[in-house]
């Protein structure tokens, strides 16, 4: 018998990936997904941080074209970045096993939106599994690879924050697999080259595959009915199942584990047995809409429950039809830039100069909070640079010359480089100034390495992309590097000078994150 252990959902996915013989794991850090790849590396899997999610997915697709098993991890908004390959790999299918993990963040504990990525599975026509605890995270990951290989299609493993980060008991059913080695790429021009004449029949084949998968799902092990003693039927999936069991333990349950394509016959059959049948789901009315569209009459939830996470109390309210406004929770102490954070000086200067500051995603987003309040926009990875360009193009000259974009080093590698290309190609009349807050790590998500940090995911030395060389090669006119340890006072002088010049300028404000320094001292 295998030993049971207490694992987070993220650790369980990583363990399952190792036990399933995954040849390569790729991804970009993002809460709540980060620990999957970290743990996979820690237990001996071949894992690598990619520059961004699009690259991560494409590398995974390539491996799976060559008959390997690959896992690709990201947070929900990362799947937007990877959406381009995601939609078309459904058409080409894969020859090995490809599992894409999307870790959604309902309630936005650490995200800029709470998009519900179940829609993306349906939109891309990619089968989706939704575990509700760490045991299922393990089991479903193992099964996802089998499913992917059998049906030659990528599988979306959709997690949410509470599944990723809760620890629950896991009984591992497999031992670590040695993996496979008989990889080969079999040429299939019509299947793999998505020119329109090949893509049209590929879409037809995909529709047929999804129809068969829907049939398969009617009998699959992913869904189960639990009979209750009360005349109320609850259709649910993911973490919502756990909350609902707590809120209404005596109800009948249809717990769905594979939520695209849906087992509509099973749902119809279940709903017909109860006088009252209600869909309990966190986020958007995804199941509700699909079930209603199939002509099955079920109850949904009020729109207020579409926002934020669910919990046992909120589900009680849904069941009671109680849509009265909810109590506000007391708020604790907000996070803030660490004492000694090298980014502080830059924000002090930008505030003093009255700059308009399109910002980006990372720790330095905290520069928008008091006492600095020196970051004016945050949209998505990379938009600090490009939204700044938009403002520079349309604002009157004197205001345009006050626009300074800030972006972190990891975010720059992720999505900032193309922004610099636009900056020199479609140069605003006043030029532009970009400050790269370079703390040489992906700090916000817990100090992950990246292509410009000089180390790989295991913190072994790796090729280091030099940000200043990238900026120069693109054709930025002024590229300055300031060591924030030695010359913090030079920052103001330099920013003032560059703002007055109507040139394209990149200032790299460099100093390692103080947390990463502590970590390195601890490991040494």
């Amino acid at each position: 018998m295998m030993k049971k252990s207490l694992l987070s959902g993220n650790e369980a996915v990583a363990e399952a990936a190792l036990d399933s013989g995954v040849s390569i794991g790729t991804g970009y850090p993002g809460t709540p997904s980060t620990e999957i790849l970290e743990h996979f590396a820690e237990i001996g899997g071949k894992a690598q941080w990619s520059p961004n999610e699009k690259v991560a997915l494409e590398v995974g697709v390539g491996a799976a074209y060559g008959k390997a098993r690959a896992i690709v991890t990201m947070k929900h908004v990362g799947l937007n970045v990877a959406a381009d390959p995601f939609f078309t790999v459904a058409y080409t299918g894969v020859d090995g096993g490809l599992v894409i993990v999307s870790a959604d963040d309902p309630g936005m504990s650490s995200s800029q939106n709470e998009q519900d990525n179940r829609h993306l599975a349906e939109a891309a026509e990619i089968p989706m599994l939704e575990p509700s605890d760490s045991q299922e995270a393990y089991d479903f990951t193992v099964k996802a690879f089998e499913l992917s290989e059998k049906w030659k299609i990528p599988v979306l493993l959709r997690l949410t924050t509470r599944v990723c980060h809760s620890k629950t008991i896991v009984n591992k059913t497999l031992k670590p697999s040695k993996g496979y080695s008989d990889f080969e790429f079999v040429r299939d021009l019509r299947g793999k080259v998505m020119i329109p004449s090949n893509a049209r029949p590929a879409h037809v084949r995909l529709r047929e595959k999804i129809a068969k998968l829907a049939e398969f799902n009617e009998e699959s092990i992913f869904n189960r009915v639990e009979n209750g003693t009360k005349d109320i039927g609850i259709i649910t999936s993911g973490i919502s199942y756990q909350y609902a069991k707590e809120a209404e333990p005596d109800a009948g349950f249809l717990k769905l584990g594979m939520t695209y394509p849906l087992p509509l016959k099973m749902i119809r059959d279940f709903s017909s047995k109860y006088k009252r049948c209600i869909v309990i789901e966190e986020g958007d009315p995804y199941l509700f809409n699909l079930i209603m569209a199939a002509g099955i009459k079920v109850e949904g939830k009020h729109d207020i429950f579409r926002l934020g996470e669910l919990n046992q109390k909120r589900i009680r309210k849904i069941l009671d039809g109680d849509n009265t406004p909810e109590e506000k929770m007391p708020v604790g102490k907000a996070p803030q830039l660490c004492p000694g954070c090298p980014h502080k000086t830059v924000y002090e200067v930008l505030k003093k100069l009255g700059c308009t500051v399109p910002g980006d995603i990372g720790c330095y987003s905290l520069g928008t909070l008091p006492p600095y309040e020196a970051m004016d926009t945050l949209l998505c990875m990379g938009a600090g640079i490009t939204a700044g360009l938009g403002l520079r193009h349309i604002l009157p000259e004197e205001k345009a010359m006050k626009v300074v974009s800030v972006i972190g080093d990891s975010t720059f590698i992720h999505s900032g480089i193309t922004g610099l290309v636009d900056m020199v190609y479609n140069r605003p009349p006043t030029g532009h100034v970009v400050v790269i807050l370079d703390n040489s790590t992906t700090a916000m998500t817990g100090l992950q390495e990246h292509p410009a940090s000089g180390s790989d995911i295991r913190r072994n030395p790796a090729y280091k992309v030099k940000i200043e060389d990238v900026a120069k090669a693109i054709g930025i006119e002024n590229v300055d590097v300031i060591d924030m340890m030695k010359n913090p006072d030079d920052v103001e002088k330099l920013i003032v000078k560059r703002l007055s010049e109507k040139k394209t300028s990149v200032i790299i404000a460099r100093r390692p994150c103080i947390l990463s320094v502590k970590l390195k001292n601890k490991c040494a």
Binding site: L6, H165, I169, K245, A334, P335, T445
Partner: protein, 157 residues
Amino acid sequence: MNDTINIIIAGIGGQGVIKASDILSEAAFEAGYDVKKSEIHGMSQRGGSVTSDVRFGKKVFSPTIQPGEADFLLVLAADQVDNNLFLLKKSGCLITPEKLKDVKLSEPKSINTALLGVLSSKIEIPENFWEAAIMKLLPGKLSQTNIDAFKLGRNTK
């Protein structure tokens, strides 16, 4: 599900809230209970408020504890008591650094394990599971310091 024990550990990022809830969960798990624990990672590590929920019993479904349903509330920072009190049951037990005012810790950072010691005398998890959990999760030279702190807490009246 009435036999489930709900414990919330609260404090500031960097204080060892999550380490403490890991130790508690591990001890409860080894003692044979079904266990779930949950917290939010990410932003909170930048010096913000952190809470971690631990639930154990015969069978646990939800990993989170709702306001007013915590049987025990362990708060590692005195200034984090007021904003977390709403989580505690009316009949619940509050455990704060105040409980350790007569105790001298050799390492102030081990306040998390010392408060776990206070908690341990009030719940049914045998002492050997606690010590094993501390040794597993705080290995090396940290083990003994924290076991000592735990014992000081456990013997506090």
